[in-house]
């Protein structure tokens, strides 16, 4: 890492901390996909990696390139925005597909269809 020699100490330590924090959160999320028992619990695990896991690594990359190039490098923001907008869409589609599949099999783990039919929940 020859380019890092020119980096001021505060930037190097900040980048190191953010990279470790982001990768650590992502790893914990991945362990979560192994530990949780049902699909709907597993849906929560990858969001650790896609929220602040991605955020920390993107900010680290922004700080590094901004300090090295000595002008603000902002295009990594696009990855952060893109991931934070698209992950909810995919997880929502997956959760709905899983709910539909579980219901069509008559599983008792998911609430039945037609929530609106219950008068007390209106």
């Amino acid at each position: 890492m020859s380019h890092a020699e020119n980096l001021p100490a505060w930037a190097a330590l900040l980048v190191a901390f953010l990279v470790l924090a982001g990768a650590g959160l992502t790893l914990i999320g991945a362990i979560g996909t192994l530990r949780f028992r049902s699909f709907f619990e597993r849906v929560h695990a990858p969001t650790l990696g896609t929220s602040w896991g991605t955020g920390a690594i993107v900010v680290a990359s922004m700080i590094l390139f901004s300090v090295l190039g000595s002008r603000p490098v902002l295009h990594e923001v696009l990855i952060g925005v893109f991931i934070s907008v698209t992950t909810p869409v995919t997880l929502m589609l997956l959760a709905r597909a899983a709910l539909y599949r579980d219901r069509s099999e008559g599983s008792s783990d998911v609430p039945p269809d037609h929530l609106a039919d219950k008068p007390d929940e209106r």
Partner: protein
């Protein structure tokens, strides 16, 4: 000194991301159901994208950013297509 710390922490972060990808791949293989596999495929895409970003931090080459953007785009499209397939049995209606 700080450059050494940075180099070691980037290496550690890359190892952690590889371990995360291994966890996701294991869940992808054991399933048990199709939605679990699709969920882990999506997480695998995101982790691969983060790994490419850390390679960019390690080498100081801004080109890795473009690769990461393309990976996240492809991951999104493919997961949406797979989720739609699980829901309806076909992708294009």
């Amino acid at each position: 000194m700080t450059a050494t710390i940075l180099a070691w922490s980037v290496t550690a972060a890359q190892l952690m991301l590889v371990a995360a990808m291994a966890c996701n791949t294991y869940r992808l293989i054991i399933g048990p159901r199709a939605q679990d596999r699709v969920l882990c495929l999506d997480a695998l895409y995101v982790n691969a994208m983060l790994l490419v970003l850390t390679f960019g931090i390690r080498t100081g080459n801004a080109l890795y950013f473009e690769a990461a953007l393309v990976i996240s785009l492809l991951g999104f499209i493919s997961t949406v297509a797979l989720a739609k397939f699980l829901m309806r049995g076909e992708v294009i209606e």
